[in-house]
Symmetry: C2
Subunit: 402 residues, 2 copies
DNA sequence: TTGGGTGAGTTCTACGGTGGAACTCAGGGT
DNA sequence: ACCCTGAGTTCCACCGTAGAACTCACCCAA
């Protein structure tokens, strides 16, 4: 989808070489371009080794990429070895920009990034009107504003594509099949936005988007087998095996919410005792704390109180952290990843309750199991939006949403 | 490994065409041959569609395979459609035979199979001497006996490779890195056996072997995302994602044994309450039943008593089945497979306790989750040995153990 | 200063796998 | 007897690749 040729939005793009599109590249040339994008400046010799190609083939393949300006030769980077110095190939990351928009029930968070997913600017807007047309209008306004920012930037390239992520299932051609928070069901979002903006728009599930973002430009670079767990309003889960995101029908839509963690724990609306939703989410933590503290509290306040040693907050936080540890260990035991990335808006829990978390992971892991790297990533809406931008980058570079 | 040219064992092989080996085939020809092996007779036109090749390429690619006798043209199979009838390609599965041997603490179970993993004969031998040399001698005797059987068969081809599977980690070149049941640690098994037999020998973990067997010639044919759970002396687990077995360092060595299932359940030696080992294994079921029944009982007897309505046996079986249901649901929730295959020597539990099993799976699955196919496979040692044979077939066909 | 060593990158050619056009083949339907 | 249809064949042009022979750019040592 969204294979229409990228068109600039807003003012005319600054002086830009003719440019070869990434998508129609042949197999080997495409692999080379992607490798350079992901792994920074790389000399032709390294690329030849990596893809098992001859040096001659690399010269042949890289020339049109250089001629079109898609890749550039970096200068001044020398290897420590003897022999002729390498002239590594690199991408000019500012030659293309992307906008990522993360939709929540109330707000649209947007970022402008370069081709390498470096965030250049950020904006957000309240979603006063959550009708499809209203959301599309808000998103379009954010994109236009950020695109204008990109055009004002010092010689940078225009916005090439837009990524939109939300909690819900997304089908073909940018259609939102169901989005609980927005109350949508079978709503076309990508195509109306493309019509409004004249730009390719990719709509994707927020968790799959974040997971792919970690894979390409995040904490899981170079790791072909990892999982992402997020806690916030709900519990999110993404899985990458064999260097590919697991995109099963159930992926990314919070089906882990009722994973049993502690049968003595609090009840959830569906009658489960101590399931993930009833133990780990921001709402679960604050409402448990409120019961003990006999007053309403905000999430950050509970965490602060726990740090200060308040017994109620400490207990609530540690219980939740133990639950998260159990969930992390279960993911580790059943999917056998090298790494689990803990993330989400409520993930400070994993820092405040770190001891309880690690204790539970250790208890649930087989002592003979190989080490499981647990990587806590403080993320906010900016990272979710960046994930959406990376989905747009992937579409631009790969030609598909996957 | 085991790339030495296959040599016949025992008598001279019966009249055999020159034969092209599977392994040095080029990419496309190899894919075609494997597809024909796995998916039965296939016409060239179907193969061309499947691999996105032109009809001309298919003629070119299939000719040497037919000339060498690796593939044969089947006759008399016509499509229902109009046009010229197809002449599907097939393999002559009896042109090559394989031996698979499953090692337990006390016994070596062996089967002789065709290229399509059809079991032709089976034998077993007690492992009176569990020293590496003793086991190798026993295995070699079994292989020689079955190879002689293959030679006596009506014009069938000789044994081409041998697969050995056991519970434990297996390293490079057929070295057993650790095998709890045999008390081995860093024991070379594959190479001594190759020397004894003059045949390629592949040693593999029994669970990965069984999982790959289900993938190629078992209940998971054509399914690119499934899990295998076995219960017996221990709890086994294998996972296939993106059509490839997850071969992490922890795969196949029973690390799920202490997966928490029921915190009110019985204790295991490591102090876990209600972990998988303490609830699901044959030993756990029989010892719990023995406590309630005030006498020693065998596993099958417990299951029979449960069928007859004995309250103690019923309770023990249902508790275990619920635990298995919880484990199955956890696998489903965390790895999102299309199918979970329940298997192993103790799997009759899943039939006798079917209601409790399904009830627990339903309770732990999100009601909005997509359907999870639960496939209970009554397996015995014959299937474990067949799994080992399929590992040998894979090595013969693919040239690698994976 | 100069020449050799070294590994990066280029040029050119032979080769092998591929698609596609034009063809034959073997059935069914009218 | 004729055409239609889809399977399979033959042949040729094309394209991506490896490999050999080459140049290039730097370091080092005499």
């Amino acid at each position: 989808m969204t294979t229409s040729p990228p068109a600039a939005v807003g003012t005319v793009p600054p002086a830009q070489r003719p440019g070869v599109a990434w998508t129609p590249l042949t197999g080997a040339a495409h692999r080379i371009a992607v490798a350079v994008l992901l792994d920074g400046p790389l000399p032709r010799s390294e690329l030849a080794r990596r893809f098992d190609l001859s040096a001659g083939s690399l010269t042949r393949l890289s020339r049109p990429l250089l001629d079109s300006g898609m890749l550039v030769e970096t200068t001044g980077v020398y290897d420590a070895t003897s022999g002729r110095p390498t002239r590594p190939l690199d991408v000019d990351e500012t030659s293309h920009h992307f906008v990522g928009v993360k939709l929540t029930a109330t707000t649209a968070h947007a970022v402008l990034t370069t081709l390498r997913a470096r965030v250049v600017a950020a904006e957000e807007a309240l979603l006063l009107d959550t009708s499809p047309a209203g959301v599309a209008a808000t998103v379009a306004a954010l994109v236009r504003s950020l695109a204008a920012h990109a055009d004002r930037g010092s010689g940078g390239g225009p916005v090439r594509a837009v990524g939109v992520s939300l909690g819900g299932r997304v089908g073909e051609r940018g259609t939102v099949r169901s989005a609980r928070y927005l109350g949508w069901d079978g709503v076309p979002l990508g195509e109306p936005l493309e019509d409004l903006l004249g730009l390719p728009v990719v709509v994707d599930n927020d968790l799959l988007s974040l997971t792919r973002a970690e894979q390409w430009f995040g904490a899981a670079r170079g790791c072909d087998h990892f999982a992402v767990l997020t806690i916030g309003e709900g519990v999110g889960y993404g899985l990458v095996v064999h260097d590919e995101v697991v995109d099963a029908p159930d992926a990314g839509v919070g089906l882990l919410g009722h994973f049993p963690l502690d049968p003595t724990g609090p009840l959830c609306p569906q009658g489960h005792a101590g399931c993930a939703d009833g133990l780990l989410t921001i709402g679960a933590v604050t409402s448990r704390a409120a019961v003990g503290l006999r007053r309403e509290v905000r999430y950050e306040e509970v965490l602060d109180l726990a740090v200060e040693g308040d017994p109620v907050a400490r207990r609530v936080v540690d219980d939740a952290a133990r639950g998260l540890g159990r969930l992390t260990a279960a993911v580790g035991n059943l999917t056998m990843p090298r790494k689990v990335i803990l993330s989400g808006d409520g993930i400070r829990l994993a820092e405040v309750g770190r001891a309880a978390l690690l204790e539970q992971v250790a208890a649930d892991r087989n002592p003979h199991a190989s080490e499981l790297v647990i990587d806590v990533q403080r993320t906010g809406f900016r990272e979710w939006a960046r994930g959406a931008a990376i989905t747009a980058i992937r579409t631009f570079v790969l030609g598909t949403r996957a």
